[in-house]
Amino acid sequence: MTAEFFLANRPLWGVLISMAAAGLILLNDRRPLIRESITMLAAAGKFIIVLSMLPEVLAGKLVETVPWTAAAGISLHFKADPLGLLFALLSSGLWIVTSVYNIGYMRAMRYGHETGYYAAFALCLSATMGIAFAANLLTFFIFYEILTIATYPLVIHARTDEAVAGGRKYLVYTLAAGQLLLLAIVGVQIMVPEAEFTPGGFLAGQAPPALLGVLFILFMAGVGVKSAIMPLHGWLPTAMVAPTPVSALLHAVAVVKAGAFGVLRVVGYVFGPELINSTASGKILVGFAAATIILASLRALAEDNLKRRLAYSTVGQLSYIVLGAGLATPLAFLGGIMHIVAHAFMKITLFFCAGAVYATAHKERVSEIGGTGKEMPVTMAAFLLGSLGIAGIPFFAGFVSKWNLGLGALEAGNIFVILVLIASALLSTGYLLPVAIQAFFGRSSGTHHGGEAKPSLLYPLVITACISIILGVFPNIGLKFYELALAAVQSVFGATSSIAMGGQ
């Protein structure tokens, strides 16, 4: 086993490391310490493996490997390209933070039967890497479905009737979507047997427009459920019965972003922006995304359960990414990609805060949150920062992506989208800021005097809150998310695009 073999197969190791960890965790059923150490080691190892590919990808090289044949004539093909690496870096990096939080949270909540929980969590991250690095549609689909199944035990973890019902709803939505996606993929595979994700798309001219339209609808229904485009979003708020770390990493980053990532992959690398812009499909997608942004924000205003409010906020925010894909201009695409990153840090912070409040003060409703700011000032300060970021205030991570989305809308001549962006910013201020205000200035309802959350809950949320500010000011610092996004956009749209004027 030479070093070259190891280096060339890094995308594969990135996938396998947490799959192996899942197996080891299952073998250590009654040893919580070993189980948790395995999780931490796998998380760190995965991040290092993914990170090691960054210099090469930034230099314009692709780390590519074909370790196996998935089905006759179609290889299991992994390729770390800028877009995939960005998603992989993001989810593997946040897995480390979440693992720390996970251990603190699960110990505080005392659910029991946690072996399967940690194993399924690790398996989810494997599937996410597979999705990020998939270089063809079948590889993408295999890991997409593994992610669907691996998330199910996490949703139903509480074993209550509510959790079981939430799990059922989740399965109905995601399995149905998976089958539609499968139909679309089979259709493409028949038309273009050698199909691989190609920057700029490969479907143009391969089929009559009507058939392409049907395929586009199937694709969007397939990936649209995970990215919660209305009316396909119903499972996400219900899935909030899952333990908070699941809501934080999977229902704000890995699973839902796998859907949004799928939208970007399909638009940018299967159909291609030219094809999307030459038909009405892009406009229809923009319409759905815009409606989702507004309706989900309105729905969030009316929600009293904090996690469900955050879930509706996620539904709305995910559609920013879909919006970027639908507009299919370089800047909009850039904004969409950057929003994957920005929203991840901000929303995971908010969920961490909600979970910390729940685990420490046992409050899960917005109406009972009054006074929490005095008890848990750091937590609620982080919540405030996250809220401001979601609202898109300058110098927060959310601003960079929204600014580019706005410019992209101008580029496409779509003033309507700009109005939607402004309305959404106001609405998100409306549903998130009152939570923080209530927490700091509202009257305390309970008799809780436990003080701040314990360190294993507090540090992760402070870290993610800080990063979301740093990324707002220097979007390219550290993991070079901005450069990766830019490289992805340039590959999809060609180097001569209007991207040079992008706001950095």
């Binding site: 196996w68 044949t69 998935a70 089905a71 006759a72 079948l138 689909f141 295999i142 479905e145 593994i146 669907t148 199944i149 035990p153 139903i156 074993r159 079981v164 799990g167 059922r168 399965l171 399995l175 149905a176 998976g178 089958q179 539609l180 499968l182 139909l183 089979v186 259709g187 595979q189 028949i190």
Partner: protein
């Protein structure tokens, strides 16, 4: 010795079937050894014939030295080789699996049971290995008669189920025989290869059209093609749990093999066959949906699995009906993936019934008491639904490719809908197994009391075959490409390599 292997595939279990009732009265140990040796010989024969056929081409064996078309010929081409290997492998696994279920029985009874068991296997192997359409009928009847009697071993209800299957199965056999009669009347030949040549110019003659219709109906009953599946739910779910994995796992598959062999290698697509295939396609599609819907309505796990078989046999028939390379690959792969998965599921059902869990509601909390069986159930369920990376996904993938390539989007949509319906009834079971509380003491005691399991959830001879089939599902999924390229590709009616 080696040139006799194709004959040994069938002859070894046949001879053992005759000896077993005698030796069982003398010594059980000798009997079990005899059974095992005959099964091993049969499997070795199948595997070496398969290897030979891949390297040197189909292996022909003339019984009594009479060359075809006069004598009876055995032909082991790659297709027959892989199916006989599958049946042979099942024979060994299910033999081990069945041992604990017979623990309380008298040696005499065991002798009869295993004699029938071997007879069933010999019949199934013979159907696959033979190159003669009348000889196929003989083996069809041997396997059917053995199966009726074995099902009747399953208690009072089993007797009724067995009798019903006897009536329906005899009708099926007779229809098939009539069809053979018509072809013989027209061609004067019973040899498959010979018939294949002779029938080419007779495609539109009326007796041939009638023969195709009769044969497809007869084999359609045997493989439970919609709407001819009425015998199946009772026969599968009421047969003794020890042999249910064999009956449900490979018996229908062998009939499906016979249908594929006759339609694509003897009658050959063209003329009446194409029209029949059209009808088969729609019936298969209807069966896929109806089987799933009926499965959703079941309360008993075994019956749910039986109706699920109606649906899954529809997949196999659908691939035969679509008839392009991708779809036929899907059919062949599904013969394997469904045999392994359904055999595995019937073992899970048997393991459950060992502890008195027969209804789905009684399986509540099974994950605590039987973690390994439950984990296997998860894998098998995922394969039935058709989720990657299990075998069931990939056979569905090839079938979908075939359907879309032919432009039959409606078949593709039906396959996809069936996946969702299948998900409904399998996830309901998984919910019970993993999420519901164990009813505990209300359940019956183990079938045989006082057996020391030393912390195992079951006797190893039951648990190991279950786990092996579970691993087989994963292996078949992960290694589907080498399997297709190395074996199934050579089992298509045309040379695609």
């Amino acid at each position: 010795m080696t040139e006799q292997f194709p004959a040994l595939i069938v002859v070894a279990p046949l001879v053992a079937a005759l000896l077993v009732p005698l030796t069982a009265r003398l010594s059980l140990a000798v009997t079990y050894c005899l059974i095992l040796v005959s099964l091993m010989v049969s499997l070795t024969g199948a595997l070496s014939a398969l290897r030979y056929s891949l390297v040197e081409g189909a292996w022909h064996y003339y019984f009594g030295g009479w060359p075809p078309p006069w004598g009876i010929e055995y032909v082991v081409d790659p297709l027959a080789g892989i199916i006989t290997s599958l049946v042979g492998l099942f024979g060994i696994l299910v033999f081990f699996y069945s041992i604990p279920f017979l623990a309380g029985k008298e040696p005499r009874e065991k002798g009869y049971f295993y004699s029938l068991y071997l007879l069933l296997l010999a019949g199934l192997l013979g159907i696959v290995a033979t190159g003669d359409v009348f000889n196929l009928y003989v083996f069809l009847e041997i396997s059917s008669l053995a199966a009726y009697a074995l099902i009747a071993f399953g208690g009072h209800q089993g007797v009724v189920a067995g009798f019903r299957y006897l009536l329906v199965g005899t009708a099926a056999g007779t229809l098939y025989l009539l069809g053979v009669g018509y072809t013989y009347a027209v061609t004067g030949s019973l040899n498959m290869a010979d018939l294949g040549n002779l029938l080419a110019s007779l495609q539109s003659s009326r007796p041939v059209i009638l023969a195709v219709a009769l044969i497809v109906t007869g084999l359609g009953i045997k493989m439970a093609l919609f709407p001819l599946y009425g015998w199946l739910p009772d026969a599968y779910s009421l047969s003794p749990p020890g042999v249910a994995p064999l009956i449900a796992g490979v018996m229908g598959k062998v009939s499906a093999y016979a249908l594929y062999r006759l339609l694509y290698f003897v009658f050959k697509p063209g003329g009446p066959v194409l029209q029949v295939l059209d009808v088969v396609g729609w019936l298969a599609a209807a069966g896929i949906i109806v089987g799933s819907v009926m499965a959703i309505a079941q309360k008993e796990f075994g019956r749910m699995l039986a109706y699920s078989s109606v649906s899954q046999m529809g997949y196999i028939a659908l691939g035969i009906a679509i008839g392009n390379a991708a779809a036929l690959t899907g059919t062949l792969l599904h013969i394997f993936s469904h045999a392994v998965a359904k055999g595995c599921l019937f073992m899970v059902a048997g393991n459950g019934s060992w502890w008195g869990r027969r209804k789905i509601s009684e399986m509540a909390g099974m994950s605590k008491a039987m973690p390994l069986t439950s984990a296997t159930l998860v894998v098998a369920s995922l394969s039935m639904v058709g989720l990657p990376p299990t075998a069931g996904f990939f056979s569905k993938w090839y079938l979908l490719m075939g359907a879309v390539e032919k432009g039959s989007w409606i078949y593709a949509v039906i396959l996809v809908i069936s996946s969702l319906l299948t998900a409904i009834y399998f996830f309901r079971v998984l919910e019970h197994v993993y999420l519901k509380k164990d009813p505990g003491a209300s359940l019956g005691t183990p079938a045989e009391e006082g057996r020391s399991l030393r912390g195992w959830e079951l006797a190893p001879s039951m648990l190991v075959p279950t786990l092996l089939l579970g691993l087989g599902i994963l292996a078949l999924g992960l290694f589907n490409a080498p399997f297709v390229d190395g074996l199934l590709k050579f089992s298509l009616p045309w040379r695609t390599w």
